[in-house]
Symmetry: C2
Subunit: 453 residues, 2 copies
């Protein structure tokens, strides 16, 4: 069945609260307090590792999202800090990659470069950075700003930020540390480089105060699907996390990002496309549908409406739930979550959904694709997209945790393995090994004697 040459799926385990569904914390088997307990996270990470996932993927928001006041009362608005949590999990796992979302709008590149480099050292080469620019005014208000930076400025800042960070990761060449006790030479100063970066947003001298990490650079992930976001991804990202509802859209995006990467001088294989998938697994398809119905029955209408309102940048309170959407703002008026806005409004248009129907799409999959069924049906749907040129793998978003991940690991992974689509053992040691990405050379290595020392 499987041949060693067969292209392999890449899988991320998306860690979000106690499940991706907004009502997951009310689901019978979840522990709503798990979000505060290390045992919950250890179990998640170890389960994903048991399933041979490429990585754990941790999203983030830098605020309590309370634009709609029902949120604090009725939803889980707390979130562990990604660097802290993944560093903790590095100590209780051995193989799995650790991908943390950190915003370029509210951090300093020197601190961020150090945190990810240190995580890469401590984990033996398993760190990845998901670059986001953040999308909400709530976040700006926690960082001494009245409004969130405008979309284009935010991406210019992100571009420069990524450049500074990857330069810092390169600032010690791989063999800079000599540790010659006899002669008292700890490092070769000709292999340690200042950046002397002076750009529009940052001035950073460098070098980083950590040597080059096992992966050379932690893997860079990017998630924005706006035109600007796509260019940033095509130029700098090694993994693209994205959201598509239909095979055709996903194929189009896949081709266009790979082509765009080529215009930036990269190989199409240097960049992996991984859409999010919200799998609802049952012994039968009917059982899966019942499972989702149970989750949906626990969504308070005010909660669903506020989530949909936030996605669409419009207050839907007062509109009939079973009627159509009102007129929406223009895309260019949306600052933050542009691609989510487009996705949800397209979905409404394409399928002619009512407010209530649309509400249930965002409370579960949050704009990502929902697939239902038996393990075989789930595997069929993943295989169709994978073999159909729509993706290189998936970010799996279990509806509730840890149950939804356990089911995927125990039932779907073996089916994917039987089809020869997924590893049965980790073969390498680093996340780059798992993903089939090469270790980049330090940009300073080719230069002759550019050191400041």
């Amino acid at each position: 069945m499987s041949t060693p040459e067969q292209r392999q799926l890449r899988l991320g385990a998306f860690l979000f609260q106690v499940g991706h569904h907004v009502a997951s914390w009310r689901y019978p088997d979840t522990d709503a307090q798990g979000i505060l307990q290390h045992a919950f996270y250890e179990h998640f990470a170890q389960t994903a590792e048991r399933g041979k996932f490429d990585m754990i993927f941790l999203a983030d928001t830098l605020a309590v999202v309370d634009r709609f006041k029902t949120n604090i009362k009725h939803t889980v608005t707390v979130r562990p800090e990604p660097i802290t949590l993944l560093s903790y999990l590095a100590g209780v796992t051995e193989h799995i990659g650790l991908a943390a979302t950190v915003s370029t709008s509210y951090h300093e590149p020197y601190n961020l470069a150090r945190e990810f480099s240190c995580l890469d050292h401590l984990s033996g080469g398993r760190a990845a950075w998901n670059v986001v620019t953040s999308g909400r005014d709530e976040e700006a208000h926690n960082f001494s700003q009245d409004r969130h930076l405008a979309h284009d400025k935010r991406y210019e800042r992100a571009r420069e930020f990524v450049d500074v960070v990857t330069s810092l990761w390169d600032s010690w060449e791989d063999d800079a540390i000599v540790a010659d006790k006899e002669n008292g030479i700890f490092a070769d100063p000709n292999k340690v480089h200042e950046l002397n970066h002076r750009g529009e947003f940052f001035a950073v001298r460098g070098p980083l105060n950590l040597p080059r990490s096992p992966q050379g650079r932690p893997v860079v992930i990017q998630a924005g699907a706006s035109e600007t976001g796509k260019h940033l991804a095509a130029e700098t990202a090694e993994v693209v996390f994205t959201a598509w509802q239909t095979l055709e859209e996903a194929q189009l995006f896949y081709r266009s990002v790979k082509e765009l990467a080529v215009t930036y001088g990269r190989s199409p294989d240097d960049i992996l496309i991984m859409p999010g998938i919200f799998p609802v697994i049952g012994a039968t398809e009917e059982e899966a549908r019942e499972k989702e119905a149970l989750l949906q029955s626990q969504v308070l209408p005010a909660v669903g409406l506020s989530m949909l309102s936030a996605s669409l940048n419009v207050d839907l309170t007062g509109y009939p739930l079973d009627g159509p959407l009102p007129d929406l703002p223009e895309l260019q008026q949306v600052n933050g979550g542009k691609s989510r806005f487009q996705l949800v409004s397209d979905m409404a248009r394409r399928e002619g959904l009512t407010i209530r129907q649309l509400m249930y799409r965002v409370t579960g999959a949050r704009g990502h694709r929902t697939i239902y069924g038996t393990p075989v049906q789930i595997a069929d749907q993943l295989e169709e997209w994978f073999k159909g040129g729509a993706c290189d793998g998936f970010n799996i978003m279990p509806p509730y945790l840890p149950g939804g991940l356990e089911e995927f690991v125990d039932l779907v992974i073996p089916e994917l393995q039987r089809r020869g689509l997924f590893r049965t053992e980790y073969e390498g040691t680093t996340l780059r090994d798992h993903l089939g990405l090469s270790k980049p050379q330090s940009r300073f290595q080719k230069a002759e004697s550019v050191s400041g020392y």
Copy 2:
């Protein structure tokens, strides 16, 4: 011997490179590459925990310190990122406190509050934040600033920063999370508070997106011994990390900080004073002296001179090593490391040391007190200061690692235990339990209905 009522020493294990001595990486038994390897840190943390230390203490600098160009070549200029490392170590330890140095000059309070809160959650209440304002232009240059912020401004920023961070830690009252699945109520919005802080340096709305952590607030440590630093400590710190050479100076400092704390409305017991100690342990006093001589013999003169020059804010290159110090700058001209400057210049004056003699004081203990001898002699010296009203405990700075810590744990700790001065088992679970510090109430808890919701 021991009575249950006897006041107990508090001990921190200072984690610095592969030892506090600048030549520790050349010492026969150290692994100079350990600084890159998780096994080195795990062994350190587990050894300190075996010794029942109150906490691990991690210093930090946000740059490669290369004002003197010999540094990169001849010294260890790389440093793990404290939050990342201590989060990692939380997963491989059970009891010991985890204290990380993070600068208020180059971070955002919302991020910092989240990181420490998350570490406190994951570790079950073992986090501590050592508040520093940073002291070097090298650091400013990595954070888009031409010069380090002036001393007074830096401390004003720090004061406001600490206030914002502790308010964020308080923003969810202890019982704000309800997790009532039946009625869909996750949290009580009346117990979740906005800060709406607008100060000179920061505007932060809050609340934090993490609930109150097991310690209520992670323990706050402060280390500046300048007058401004002392006031900040007396007002906000629960542990003061400090450096003194003589019993008299230490007693004076101890009394003055405790008295100052009282003027801020606090009890003297709310603030613990822990000087750094550089212990050189031998089977005999002579063996200890030989051990230090071996370490000193491995200090290249250029390295010693650059360290002393940095401490004194003056370039000593070219002065005869066996001659006296030249004239030094005035204290008020020194921006960053003021207390270190004062300490080293006082030492030179008091003991009439030559440049070479002084050099060897900073390459080992780096301004902290060196004590030599057998385990009994070491214990005698610690006891003298502890019972003499000079401190509440010590931050132990082993000359080389892990050997220097192992010797302390295997030889000195049992002697302190025999004298009834130190615990034989952890009694509580949190760092506050170890230190005998109470859990602070949320500042929002007494207020009636101040919530913004």
